[in-house]
């Protein structure tokens, strides 16, 4: 239906690439020649425009916006359509590689459930309207009242634009909401080593001891860390020790996986510190006496009782850390997802200090010289604030884009009640998610592959770059508009100063980046676009160390209930991947389940509850219940039940709706005492069989190799003997 409207001239004009030689400026890789070359007569256009050779793909550079890592991408464009995404080899973030979410971004772009036209609420229902009507309504309603913006993690010029608009309508608060984040770790790093985003050198470590940090799946910049992990695994090979209550993707790759009681990670770190000091003669330079006293109270025997980990394993971890320097200790994911999450991160940094890792495997990052472009990193504390402020009537007009607060917020936060108290809600989105469905005005956005933008990657080593996002094709849905374009128009209407010179966001972006780079040359601008990034000035930081406050107490009542772990997965992520069939049918890395949620249970627990694999089970907390099927395996602590985040949508589209359950909805109101992050591993639930069983759709029906040599494993010692490097 849209093909007839694809018009390359307009597309190129939109790119601002009018002149002849520059039209293929984005093409810097060898192009493909097709099998059908010379035979293919039927293409999208009978008369292709001058720069497009039918059947030959060209590559354009852009930036993936699937998460805040900001990986560089190359999109293969043929006959005006983008067909495949690959990593941009020049990007320092991902070095040419991509994760499955990056690969699947195409299905977001070509999604059949995208919003095609603006919608306005009339008589209680959203009905299609014209852009003029929708914008006029927004301008009228946002003249008065307390306004606020809700976004996901946002950076670069989109951040500037949203905040300019917020200022122009007299708003004050910008809630950056992100369920999967490293806020606790970064806050601890800022407080303790004076750098919120230090460089983490997995490749230099000989041992990595990770408290729940899923750096291969969901922690800060997974593709970048996966590349460093590959170096870490090159002989002489490093050892990975992962401690967490339920197995993550990183845990799945651990040499030693330590299943611990949820919430006891801080105690484990203290126990390891105790063994290091008492058995291995580690001095603990820079550790305060108060912390040393705390460590002394946590001898391995005591800790073994708290964590349900054998003493021998705690001592083995300490021995491994003591014998192999430098090492690296990380904390994230489940370790930081409870009321004491900050303590786990502080304890991890304390271990790094004891082991002399600060300055070797953890080094100072660099700060942007233009802080106004830097990331506003989303977190779930803001989600909580949003619910509270909305309920208290502090918000009258709300703009939402890139976040889905009505899906993410636990019922205990009363987000929907607060939302309904907000007088006027505008959602800018490409998909009709839970939040958009409840809006007063919905503005249809272009997909990330149709839009302009600039992004600061959430993690960078060495120099800092501004990652550039450019359209790879003309809008699939012609009546959609770019985020920057919409917000620029709204800001201009609201009387924001200094924007009159810009007709569109492209013009603004180009002029802003030209000013930033102090060049107006067309050639250099095209160079930036071809590279997909441009370097911007940054300043070095300096690390220091001062102990953070570590409070190992657990609020654990042994009431016989299980602890619910709402686990984060690379794939569905926070739910944004749920309407992409490739991701729905991509088996979860650990459970291998497709197209549905599942609840992980230890065989011992399952046996005591009379639950078999594939049984529907009812999981009930104080604030709600969900019913899903049991997946029984030994990669989880017997006192825990893990349900992945991301499914359980009541909207979003045909593939996501009514598929699976959302464990976030039944979390109790607990949050990390220091950062306010919503605790994802601190809700007690009762579990019982729902009396039905149905075979789960999953890739692996067996968990064992039964003696066949499929995945063969050898010991590291043997490898060192044959391949050297020891």
């Amino acid at each position: 239906m849209n093909q007839s409207k694809l018009d390359r001239r307009q597309f190129l004009k939109g790119l601002g690439l009018g002149g002849a030689g520059v039209a293929l400026a984005g093409c810097d890789l060898p192009s493909y020649v097709t099998l059908e070359q010379g035979e293919e007569n039927v293409i999208s256009y009978l008369a292709p425009n001058e720069y497009v050779i039918p059947g030959v793909g060209v590559w354009y550079a852009s930036t993936c916006v699937g998460c805040s890592a900001g990986c560089g991408i190359h999109g293969r464009v043929r006959e005006g359509r983008v067909l495949k995404l690959e990593g941009n080899p020049d990007s320092g973030v991902n070095m040419g590689r991509l994760c499955q979410m990056g690969q699947a971004a195409l299905q977001h772009h070509f999604n059949p459930d995208r919003i095609a036209n603006p919608m306005v609420r009339k008589n209680g229902a959203l009905v299609e309207a014209s852009w003029d009507e929708a914008i006029a309504l927004i301008n009228e309603k946002s003249k008065s009242g307390k306004a606020a913006w809700v976004t996901g993690t946002i950076s670069g010029h989109q951040r500037v634009m949203a905040q300019t608009h917020l200022g122009a309508i007299g708003g004050s608060r910008h809630y950056a909401v992100e369920q999967i984040n490293a806020n606790v770790w970064k806050t601890a790093c800022k407080d303790i080593i004076n750098d919120p985003n230090p460089e983490i050198h997995l490749e230099k470590a000989k041992v990595i001891f990770s408290l729940g940090a899923d750096f291969l799946g969901t922690f800060i910049s997974p593709v970048h860390f996966a590349a460093s992990y590959a170096e870490f695994r090159t002989p002489p090979r490093g050892t990975l020790i992962q401690a967490e209550p339920a197995m993550s993707l990183t845990g799945g790759n651990a040499d030693h996986w330590v299943g611990i009681k949820p919430g006891s990670e801080t105690a484990l770190a203290l126990g390891v510190a105790n063994a290091l000091m008492n058995n291995h003669g580690v001095a603990g330079n820079g550790i305060s006496n108060a912390t040393k006293t705390l460590i002394n109270k946590h001898d391995p025997e005591t800790v073994a009782g708290i964590c349900a980990v054998p003493v021998g394993r705690i001592e083995k971890i300490a021995a491994s850390l003591a014998a192999n320097s430098p090492s690296l200790v990380l904390a994230g994911g489940s370790a930081t997802g409870n009321a004491n999450g900050y303590s786990a991160a502080a304890a991890a940094l304390m271990l790094n200090q004891m082991l002399g890792n600060i300055g070797t495997t953890i080094t100072a990052g660099r700060e942007l010289a233009y802080p106004q472009l830097d990331l506003v990193e989303g977190n779930s504390a803001n989600l909580k604030d949003l619910a509270i402020d909305a309920n208290e009537g502090k918000i009258d007009v709300l703009f939402v884009s890139g976040a889905n607060p009505l899906f993410l917020a636990p019922k205990s936060l009363k987000m929907l009640e607060g939302w309904n108290k907000v007088g006027f809600k505008v959602v800018l989105s490409s998909m009709l998610d839970e939040t958009a469905e409840a809006a007063d005005v919905v503005l249809p956005l272009a997909s990330s592959l149709e839009d302009w933008g600039s992004h600061i990657p959430s993690y960078a080593k060495g120099t800092r770059n501004l990652a550039l996002q450019q359209p790879l094709m003309e809008p699939v849905f012609p009546n959609t508009r770019g985020f920057g374009d919409v917000v620029l128009a709204l800001a201009k209407d609201a009387g924001a100063p200094g924007l009159d010179d810009y007709d569109d966001y492209y013009g603004y972006l180009r002029s802003a980046i030209s000013a930033l780079k102090k060049t107006d040359s067309e050639k250099e601008w095209n160079g930036f676009l071809m590279a997909g990034q441009t370097q911007i000035p940054s300043l070095g930081r300096k690390l220091s160390y001062s102990d953070g406050k570590i409070t190992p107490t657990m609020n654990d009542s042994d009431d016989g209930n299980l602890t619910l772990i709402a686990s984060a997965r690379m794939g569905m992520w926070d739910g944004r991947g749920a309407n992409l069939p490739w991701l729905q049918e991509s088996p979860d890395q650990i459970s291998k389940v497709v197209w549905d949620s599942w609840a992980e249970l230890h065989p011992k627990t399952a046996k005591s509850l009379g639950i078999k694999d594939g049984d529907y089970i009812n999981i009930k907390s104080a604030s709600g219940e969900v019913t899903t099927r049991a997946f029984i395996y030994k990669g989880i602590h017997p006192g825990a039940i893990a349900v992945p985040i991301g499914r359980g949508h009541s909207a979003l589209g045909r593939y996501a709706k009514d598929n699976g359950v959302n464990p976030l909805s039944i979390l109790n109101g607990a949050s990390d005492s220091k950062t306010g992050e919503i605790a994802t591993t601190a809700t007690k639930v009762s579990v019982k069989s729902a009396g039905k069983n149905k075979q789960m759709a999953k890739l692996m029906e067996i968990d064992r190799q039964h003696g066949r040599k499929l995945v063969a494993t050898i010991s590291a010692d043997k490898q060192r003997r044959t391949e050297g490097g020891a």
């Binding site: 097709t34 195409l106 049918e585 064992r704």
Partner: protein, 289 residues
Amino acid sequence: MSSLFGNILKGWTDYTKGIEEGGHHEYEHMWGMVIDLDKCTGCNACSVACYAENNIATVGEEKYVARQSMQWLRVERYFDEPDIDPGAIDDENAMQERGASFLPMMCQQCNAATCEPVCPVAATYHTPDGLNAQIYNRCIGSRYCANNCPYRLRVFNFYSYTDENGAWPEPMKQQLNPDISVREKGVMEKCTFCIQRINAAKDKAKMENRQVTEGEVKTACQQTCPTQAIMFGDLLNPESKVTQAWVRQQIKLGKYKQDRENPTLRGYRIFEELNTDPSVLYLERVREE
């Protein structure tokens, strides 16, 4: 006409040579792969890249349960550590003490492929590149090949996925890769080592009057792999990284049992003992004791 005549003559020469020398192939290329299981993290990026590159249909939950999924590249996951921790896996009350084992499995492009001789219509055949290929237009859907594949790596189109309720409702169809076909109901399909990328590189090399160079062809799975655990290249090119890895691991084609000078090397081929002569070399996973 003369070229046709020439082909017949050449075919006859190859045929007789094959009889004399036993399974002789005069390959132009011999595409092979090396997968380092110690680097593979099981993240599944390769599998999704394969869906994107090769027009693979998604089938939905019901058909997935019925084992009708269409994935060409699956990442298997096992929870046992037979070589390091014998016994520990049988304790029901214990927790996992190590991570899982991940295994990316795509068509092994066997040189003595068990799927080839059973096809009643010769839809599955061996290319001069050493690939095990499938002619979709010739396939009648007998599924003998899939039954005969010891790796379970052939998938069958039990349904048509091209209508509006299929795998690509509008506008998703626009993403389909025009370099390869969309398969219809009744047709067997499988991993091709991204043959469209191989052919594109060969065409280009031919036009420029040169050989395909090392690294010129990258399969979709290899390209996206975050840890670069997958290597791909021409085993007839002595300079290629895959050839060097095969030599280093002392693994030779054409054998069902390797007699290696150093049997502790990490390289192995899956089900090599069945004499399928696969072109994919795996490197054993390594774990600290």
